[in-house]
Each structure stands twice: as structure tokens, then as C-alpha cells.
């Protein structure tokens, strides 16, 4: 029994790192511009297909492929911001919600037509690491490592670099940022670009160990809501911690009760945190 629990805990944590990366982009956009990006899930799915086509089609190592996915994701984010989000950024919440929902439907519609909804699989392995009763696939370890790296880099970017601080300034008080000579529209576009890049990276990592379809991002998008509330908005370290908490729950809960209880408990937690600490367990936003 202890060995089985240990395995569940480690499995859960490994999954949690991935949830963390998946949520980071969403909570960044949410925190900086108060836009709930409903196209986040489909963008994660596009990241999965990115890895698939680069690896299966071009034979590129998936981790090198991630660099390309990051660049494409950043540019795609600029485009989505410019076309769909910028014009509704000052409108009530519902407008931006609908705008990103429209983007989501377009990606899913075109994706379903072009890629069907039968699962794809990236046939890539890094072997596995065994420690006592545990066996962890190398790809999962790499994903965990990448998650920590991305969270750390994003934190350094937001707190130590000039454009990063400008993002926090615009997030904190957009009007005042303009008075400081900060071009806030460009800063918002940059934030959206980074959020989209993170969605692509998360998808690209997940594809190395889970089969997927164009619809696979939705799960991660839903989890991102819970994680954003747990870890606070716009804080990459918070997203990582929130992801780990969620992963841990998903590892442990099935050891004690039917697996179908997992979402029930997760969203009960979501409501509970909203009621008790609306700014997130880890406090404020960027």
C-alpha cells in the first residue's frame, strides 16, 4: 500500500508540473488584461500538433521543436490579440469572452476538418528512470524540468527585465503606465503573445507522453481556471504551485474513491478558495 500511494503521489506531481505550464499562459493573460482566454485550450492542442508534425513529419527532436513552437506561438498571440482582442479590451467582460470563444471555435472547427478527432500519438521515448518501486518515464521528467525552467524564466522576465516590469505596470494601472510613456497596447499584445507561447509550449510537452486530438486542450483549460484561483493570477510560481496541488489531488484521490470524484473535489476547492481567499491562496497578482 505505501508503495502504491507513493507511486500515485509521484505520478500526480509529474502531471501537476504540466498543469502548471498549461495554466501559466492563461493566468498571465487573465491577470494582466482581465481577459479570460477561451482559446487557450485549442492553442494548447495546436502546440501538441506542432510537436507531432515537427517530429513525425520533419524528424525534429521534440525539445528542439519546442523552440520553434515558442516563436510561432508568440507571433500567433500577437495576431490573435490584434485581430480579436484589442478591439474589445475596454468593453465589458462578455465581449472579450465571446471574442476568444470565437477564436476557439475557429481553431476547433478547422482542426476537426483537417485533423479529424481520432487520437494522434508522438512515438518518442527517452526511456525511464527507476528508483525503488517507482518508474518514471524520461519524457515526464523532462516535462517537469521544463515546467520549472519556464516558470523560473517567466518570473525573472516579469520581475527583472524592463519589458517584464512594463507588463506588471500595465496590469497594475494601465492609465498611469501610459503617463510614464509606456505604450500599453503594445505591452498587452506582448502579454497575449507570451500567454499563447506558453499554451503552445505546454501542448508541445504534453504531446511527448499523452495521445491527443484537437479537443484535448479543453481539459487543461478547465484545470487552468482552478489553478489560477489557487495560485493567484499572473504569477508563474503560483501557477506552478497550483498545478502541483491539482496534480497531487488527482494522484491521491483515485486511491481512495472512484476517479469520477476528481473534478467534483477540484471544483469544490475552486469555489471554496473563491469564497475564502478571492485573490488566490498565494495572494496577489502580477
Amino acid at each position: 500500500m505505501p508503495a502504491q500511494v507513493l507511486t500515485s503521489v509521484v505520478d500526480g506531481l509529474m502531471l501537476g508540473f504540466v498543469y502548471g505550464v498549461a495554466a501559466m499562459g492563461m493566468t498571465l493573460i487573465w491577470g494582466v488584461m482581465r481577459v479570460i482566454n477561451l482559446s487557450h485550450g485549442p492553442l494548447i492542442a495546436l502546440g501538441m500538433f506542432g510537436t507531432y508534425f515537427l517530429f513525425t513529419g520533419l524528424g525534429l527532436n521534440p525539445y528542439l521543436g519546442l523552440l520553434l513552437i515558442a516563436v510561432v506561438g508568440l507571433v500567433a498571440g500577437f495576431v490573435i490579440y490584434g485581430v480579436a482582442v484589442h478591439r474589445v479590451i475596454n468593453a465589458p467582460y462578455l465581449s472579450s469572452l465571446l471574442a476568444t470563444f470565437a477564436v476557439s471555435m475557429m481553431i476547433i472547427g478547422v482542426g476537426t476538418a483537417a485533423l479529424s478527432t481520432s487520437p494522434f500519438n508522438v512515438d518518442f521515448s527517452l526511456g525511464s528512470v527507476a528508483a525503488g518501486p517507482l518508474t518514471i518515464p524520461g519524457t515526464r521528467l523532462m516535462a517537469a524540468f521544463a515546467a520549472v525552467l519556464v516558470a523560473g524564466l517567466l518570473y525573472l522576465f516579469l520581475y527583472r527585465t524592463k519589458p517584464g516590469k512594463a507588463i506588471r505596470a500595465v496590469s497594475n494601472n494601465r492609465g498611469a503606465a501610459e503617463l510614464m510613456g509606456i505604450p500599453s497596447s503594445r505591452v498587452l499584445a506582448l502579454s497575449f503573445g507570451i500567454g499563447t507561447m506558453l499554451a503552445g509550449l505546454a501542448g508541445g510537452l504534453i504531446a511527448t507522453f499523452f495521445p491527443f486530438t484537437i479537443l484535448s486542450g479543453e481539459t487543461y483549460q478547465l484545470k487552468s481556471f482552478v489553478i489560477g484561483v489557487l495560485g493567484g493570477l499572473g504569477n508563474p510560481i503560483g501557477a506552478l504551485v497550483g498545478g502541483l496541488v491539482l496534480g497531487l489531488l488527482e494522484g491521491i484521490i483515485p486511491a481512495f474513491m472512484p476517479v469520477s470524484w476528481v473534478p467534483v473535489i477540484e471544483f469544490a476547492l475552486f469555489v471554496l478558495v473563491l469564497l475564502i481567499r478571492p485573490t488566490g491562496l498565494l495572494g496577489g497578482r502580477a
Binding site: 492609465g175 501610459e178 496577489g284
Partner: protein
């Protein structure tokens, strides 16, 4: 040449017109005071000069260039700097980060370290609190950050909206003393202030606004001693 010239500006919010053809001029190196009762259009004037509010008619000329259609962040980059009413700090960022944001534009960026020392010399209390989040400071300290953040931009024109609002008399005196020092260093300043006596005491030139129009202008000293103006507009 005037540092800033505003000609026949009309402006307002939505359908509601607030400014009815306001003209004013700032001379370089001088402190110009803009006074008037609540609702006379002073803040609206500043917001229109900054481009936060669109001018319906009229022209804003900054250093000989027409900037009436320029977005506000570009005006700020050029050195037209507003310390807004209510301070509008980046409350979740530290004092030092707030000051760094003041020097965001390319023009003041190279002198950021030197200017920060200058701000700390002007407001020593900020140096002690540099790593503290701006939102946790007292009202007076927040006003110091707001003015300091404005100075970090190396303003060609520093505009301050309600320097003394909500501050104790002691702090108000201190801040006005800092303002006088800035003026003596050659800083061009436009001061909007409810404390008319104080504004006139440090000001060189003054405009009195009422009902969205300039009702009177002249040397601050003359206006302050004009009985008619004192009774009608200044309430002192």
C-alpha cells in the same frame, strides 16, 4: 517660445462639454499655477493636455510642435509629464520599481541611476522605503513617489494635479518647499492646486478658471492681492 501653448481648447466627457475655449501658455523655467474651485475644469484641462482626453477643438503646442493628435504615451516620452490626481501609483510594485517605470522612455533611460539618487535626495524617506510596495505607504509618502516618478522622466514640463490633496499641513509645506527647489533648478512646472494661497506663493504666473473658462490671468503676486479676484474666485 513658450514651453507649452494651449489655444482655444474645447473638450469634455461624452456629450458633456467641460472646457469652453481655454488658452494658456507656460514660460520655460517658470511655475505656472492653475487655480479655481471644484468643477471649474482644471483636471479636464490637464487630461486634455496629456491626451488622455481628446480635444474637440483647438490646439496644443509643445516646444513648437503640434501634439494635439499625439497618443498620451508619446507625449510622455517627449517629456510632457503629468503627476495625476490621486497619485495613480503602481501599488503592487515597489517604490524603486515605480521610479524605474518613470524612466521608461528612451530619453530619460540613460540617466536613471543619477535621477533616482536625485529623487532620494529630494525625498530621503523614499530611500528607506525603496523595497516596500507602493500601496503600503502613507498618503504623504505616496505623493512623494508620484512626484519622484514624474521627475524620473526628466520632464521638460512637469504638471502636478493637486499636490496637497489629503495631506497634512506639515507635509504640504515640505512638498511645496521641494517644488520651490525644483523651480529654482529651472524646472518648468504647471501646478493645479486647491490650496490657492500656497500655489500663488510659489507661482510666477497664474490662471484662474471657472465654469470651463479662464476668467483671469496675471502674475501670481498681483492676482493674490486683487480683492475682486480673491472674493470671486479664490475664496480666500
Amino acid at each position: 517660445m513658450a514651453a507649452l501653448e494651449v489655444r482655444d481648447i474645447t473638450s469634455g466627457y461624452g456629450e458633456v462639454q467641460i472646457l469652453w475655449g481655454v488658452s494658456l501658455k507656460l514660460e520655460p523655467g517658470k511655475l505656472t499655477a492653475l487655480v479655481g474651485s471644484n468643477g471649474s475644469g482644471k483636471t479636464t484641462m490637464l487630461r486634455t493636455i496629456m491626451g488622455q482626453l481628446r480635444a474637440w477643438q483647438g490646439q496644443v503646442t509643445f516646444q513648437g510642435q503640434d501634439i494635439t493628435r499625439l497618443p498620451s504615451y508619446q507625449r510622455a516620452s517627449e517629456g510632457l509629464v503629468l503627476v495625476p490626481e490621486g497619485r495613480q501609483l503602481f501599488t503592487d510594485m515597489t517604490v524603486q520599481e515605480n521610479l524605474e517605470m518613470g524612466a521608461f522612455a528612451p530619453r530619460p533611460q540613460p540617466q536613471m541611476r543619477r535621477n533616482m539618487e536625485r529623487v532620494f535626495a529630494l525625498f530621503p524617506r523614499l530611500a528607506e522605503r525603496r523595497s516596500q510596495k507602493a500601496g503600503t505607504l502613507s498618503g504623504g509618502e505616496q505623493q512623494m513617489v508620484a512626484v519622484g516618478r514624474g521627475l524620473m522622466a526628466e520632464p521638460r514640463i512637469l504638471m502636478i494635479d493637486e499636490l496637497s490633496l489629503g495631506l497634512s499641513p506639515r507635509l504640504t509645506l515640505d512638498l511645496f518647499e521641494s517644488l520651490r527647489r525644483l523651480k529654482n533648478e529651472g524646472q518648468t512646472i504647471l501646478l493645479v492646486e486647491q490650496n490657492v494661497a500656497m500655489a500663488m506663493a510659489v507661482g510666477d504666473y497664474a490662471y484662474v478658471m471657472a465654469e470651463g473658462r479662464v476668467k483671469m490671468e496675471g502674475h501670481a503676486r498681483d492676482l493674490l492681492h486683487n480683492e475682486e479676484i480673491r472674493a470671486a474666485y479664490l475664496g480666500v
